[in-house]
Amino acid sequence: MLHIKNLRVSVEGKEILKGIDLDVNPGEVHAIMGPNGSGKSTLASALAGNETFEITEGEVTYMGKDLLDLSPEDRAREGVFLGFQYPVEIPGVSMVNFLRTAINEHKKYREEEPLSAGEFLKLMREKKSLVEIDSDLTSRSVNEGFSGGEKKKNEIFQMALLNPRLSILDETDSGLDIDALRIVANGVNKLKTKDNATVVITHYQRLLDYIIPDYVHVLYKGRIVKSGDRSLAVQLEEKGYDWLKQETGTEA
C-alpha cells in the first residue's frame, strides 16, 4: 500500500528526516516511536503534503501512485488520513458543514452522487455512536473551544466518517486521560479492516496496550534505527530512550 524509499525532508533548510525506508501493507498496524525531536511529526506531515516540509530526496508510492505528486486534498481523497497532533480551530464553520463538504468532495472525486442532508445526518449518527463522541461536539464550530481530549476524539470521529485506506495518527494519545485514551483506541480498533492500514505515531508505550501494533519502528535523529514487533515497544518502555542512544551510538 505505502512504500517509502530513502525519504529526506527539510524544514527551513534544516534536514529533519535523513533517509526513511518504510513499507506498510493492507491490514497492518505500524507504530512509530521515538523521543521528542526525532522527526515523527515531520514524517506524518510530509506524507500528508504540508508545504512547510520540503522533500529533498526519496520516493513515496501509495496504491501504485506517486504520492508526492498529488496535492494535499487529492492525497486525502485517495484515502490518506492524518490525525493531527494539534487539531486546528476554524471559528464560525460548523462541524456539520465542514464534514459534509469534506465527504462530498471525496464523493465528487470518485464521481459519486453527493450525500443529501438526511443521508449525511444518518451517517453521522452511526459514526458518532461507533466512536462514542458526544452529540454536542458536532453542533459546534470545528474544534473551537474543544478540550484537548475532545479534539482528539473528534479526529477519530472524522476518520470514521471519511473511511480512509491509510490513517496516520500523529500523537493522538498525547494529553488524553485514561478514559479518553480507551475511547480513541477502541475507535481505531473498530475501524480496522483487512483492507486498511494504520500508522500510529506515539511517544509513549501506553497507547500500544490498547492498539496492538504488528510492527514497531524507532525513529531517532531522522532515521529508523530499529524495527521489530510489539516487544520492542515494551523494551523501550523498560529501558527508556537512553538505551537506544547507546545502541545507535555504535551504529552511527
Partner: protein, 482 residues
C-alpha cells in the same frame, strides 16, 4: 511558501466579474455636464411639478458651495463632474403600460441578471422594481400590493401620483444640505423606488429594487424613500450591478426610511457594482447616503448590507432613534479585493429613552485593497438608558491589504451603556491545510471560512438572497488566502 501563498491569493483574487456585459440599446441622453439648465432639463424630462424643480435647483446651488468630504480613509481620484452624463434612459417608450411595451433587450438584460420581470416567472413572494440607468423599467406585483393599500412604484410615478406623500417625506431624513453627495443627488436624481406601507399592514412579500447602470459615462443618482406607518412592517432588498468599463462611473444615491409608531423596516443590500479590473482600472464610485429615522415609539429599523462590488465605497447606513424604545440595527459584510477601497459603517443617534442599537460589522480584505469600518454611536442628553453593542471584526487575506477600524463615541447621558468589541484575524495556513487534509480544496476552504466568519450577518438576509450572497462572497474572493 510565501510565494505559494501569493499564488493562491492571486488566483482567488483574479476571478472575473460575472455581470460585466453591456446591453446594446438605444438611449435617450442629455449631453454631459452639470449646470442649472441640466437640472431643469432633467426635471422637464420627468414632467415634474414646479416645487420639485425648485428643490433640485436649491440643492444644486448648495452643492456648488460644498467640497468633497476628505475625512474618509480613501484615495479618491479627482472627479470631473462636467464629463458625466446625468440623464440616460432606454429609448422606445417613455412609459411602459404593459410588459409588451418593454424592449425585449431590456427584459433579456434583467433575465441574464437573474431578475425576470414577468410576474409568473418571479421568485415567489418578491416584488421587484427594476431601474436601468435613469429610469424605472418595470415594477412587478403592483396590483397585488395595492389591494393592501401598499404603494410600491418608481420614484417618478410617486411624484406624479402621490405628490403629497413625496413632498411630506422627501428630504425629511436626508436633507439636501446633509453632505456633498446628498446635495448632488438631490439636484440630479433621476429615479428610484418609493414604498409606502399604510397603518397596520404587514407587507406580505419582500420588496426589491434592482439597479443597473448600463449607459457609458453615465452617473446613477437614484433615491429611495420608504415610509412605514404605525404598526406596519416591510422587508426591502436592493441589488445592483454594472457593465465592465474602463472608465469610472459615479453612483451617488440617497435612501430615506421613516418608521412611525411600532413600525419595523428591514432594509437589505447586496451591492455588486463593477469593482474595476485586477489592476484597479474602471469600477463604480459608490457614494451613498442612507439613513432611517425611528420617529415613532417602539419602532425599529434594521440595515443589512453585503458589499462586494465598487471600486470605492463611501457609505454609512444610519439610524436616528427618536421614538422611545426604538431600535436600530446595522449588520454589514464588506469585502474588498484587488485595488478596491471601502470606508463604510454606521451612525446610531440615540435621542429617545430606552433606545437600543446593535452594530455588527465584518470586514474582509484581500489583494491590495483597503477596508475601513467607521462608526459613530451618539447618545444625546435626553436618551435615558440607551444601549449600544458594537462588534467590528476584520479578516485579512494576504499581507498587502489593509483593515482599519474607526469607532467614535459621543455620550452625553451617563445612564448609557455602550460596548465595543473588535477583532482582527487572518485565515491561517494551518486552517487551510486542515481543510485540504480532509479533501477540501483551498478555494472551497476559503469559502467555508469566510462564510462562517460572516454567518452572523448573512443570517439576517431574507432567505431568497442569503444563498446568493454566500455565493457572491466566495466568487469575490475566489482564490485568496493569508
Amino acid at each position: 511558501m510565501a510565494r505559494e501563498q501569493d499564488k493562491i491569493i492571486d488566483k482567488v483574487t483574479s476571478s472575473d466579474y460575472k455581470f460585466g456585459f453591456e446591453t446594446l440599446i438605444e438611449t435617450d441622453t442629455l449631453p454631459p455636464g452639470l449646470n442649472e439648465n441640466v437640472v431643469r432639463a432633467i426635471s422637464a424630462k420627468k414632467e415634474e411639478p414646479e416645487w420639485l424643480t425648485e428643490f433640485r435647483l436649491k440643492a444644486y446651488r448648495h452643492w456648488l458651495t460644498m467640497k468633497m468630504p476628505e475625512w474618509a480613509h480613501l484615495k479618491i481620484p479627482e472627479i470631473h463632474y462636467n464629463d458625466i452624463i446625468y440623464y440616460a434612459a432606454p429609448k422606445r417608450n417613455a412609459k411602459y403600460e404593459s410588459m409588451d411595451d418593454v424592449d425585449p433587450e431590456l427584459l433579456d438584460t434583467f433575465n441574464k441578471l437573474g431578475i425576470p420581470l414577468e410576474e409568473q416567472k418571479q421568485l415567489a413572494g418578491v416584488a421587484v422594481d427594476a431601474v436601468m440607468d435613469s429610469v424605472s423599467v418595470k415594477t412587478t406585483f403592483q396590483e397585488t400590493l395595492a389591494d393592501l393599500g401598499i404603494i410600491f412604484c418608481s420614484f417618478s410615478e410617486a411624484v406624479k401620483n402621490y405628490p403629497d406623500l413625496v413632498k411630506k417625506y422627501m428630504g425629511s431624513v436626508v436633507p439636501y444640505t446633509d453632505n456633498y453627495f446628498a446635495a448632488l443627488n438631490s439636484a440630479v436624481f433621476s429615479d428610484g423606488s418609493f414604498c409606502f406601507i399604510p397603518k397596520g399592514v404587514r407587507c406580505p412579500m419582500e420588496l426589491s429594487t434592482y439597479f443597473r447602470i448600463n449607459a457609458a459615462n453615465t452617473g446613477q443618482f437614484e433615491r429611495t424613500l420608504i415610509v412605514a406607518e404605525d404598526d406596519s412592517y416591510v422587508s426591502y432588498l436592493e441589488g445592483c450591478t454594472a457593465p465592465m468599463r474602463d472608465e469610472n462611473q459615479l453612483h451617488a444615491a440617497i435612501v430615506e426610511i421613516v418608521a412611525l409608531e411600532n413600525a419595523e423596516v428591514k432594509y437589505s443590500t447586496v451591492q455588486n457594482w463593477y469593482p474595476g479590473d485586477k489592476n484597479g482600472k474602471g469600477g463604480v464610485y459608490n457614494f451613498v447616503t442612507k439613513r432611517g429615522i425611528c420617529r415613532g415609539d417602539n419602532s425599529k429599523i434594521s440595515w443589512t448590507q453585503v458589499e462586494t462590488g465598487s471600486a470605492i465605497t463611501w457609505k454609512y447606513p444610519s439610524c436616528i432613534l427618536l421614538g422611545d424604545n426604538s431600535k436600530g440595527e446595522f449588520y454589514s459584510v464588506a469585502v474588498t479585493n484587488n485595488h478596491q477601497q471601502a470606508d463604510t459603517g454606521t451612525k446610531m443617534t440615540h435621542i429617545g429613552k430606552n433606545t437600543k442599537s446593535i452594530v455588527v460589522s465584518k470586514g474582509i480584505s484581500a489583494g491590495l485593497s483597503e477596508n475601513s469600518y467607521r462608526g459613530l454611536v451618539k447618545v444625546l442628553k435626553g436618551a435615558e438608558n440607551a444601549r449600544n453593542f458594537s462588534q467590528c471584526d476584520s479578516m485579512l487575506l494576504g499581507d498587502k491589504c489593509g483593515a482599519h477600524t474607526f469607532p467614535y463615541l459621543e455620550i452625553e447621558n451617563d445612564t448609557a451603556i455602550v460596548e465595543h468589541e473588535a477583532t482582527t484575524s487572518k485565515i491561517g495556513e494551518d486552517q487551510i491545510f486542515y481543510c485540504n487534509q480532509r479533501g477540501i480544496d483551498t478555494e472551497t476552504a476559503i469559502g467555508l471560512i469566510v462564510n462562517g466568519y460572516a454567518k452572523e450577518v448573512l443570517n439576517k438576509l431574507p432567505m431568497e438572497f442569503a444563498v446568493e450572497a454566500q455565493k457572491l462572497l466566495q466568487i469575490t474572493l475566489e482564490g485568496s488566502v493569508g
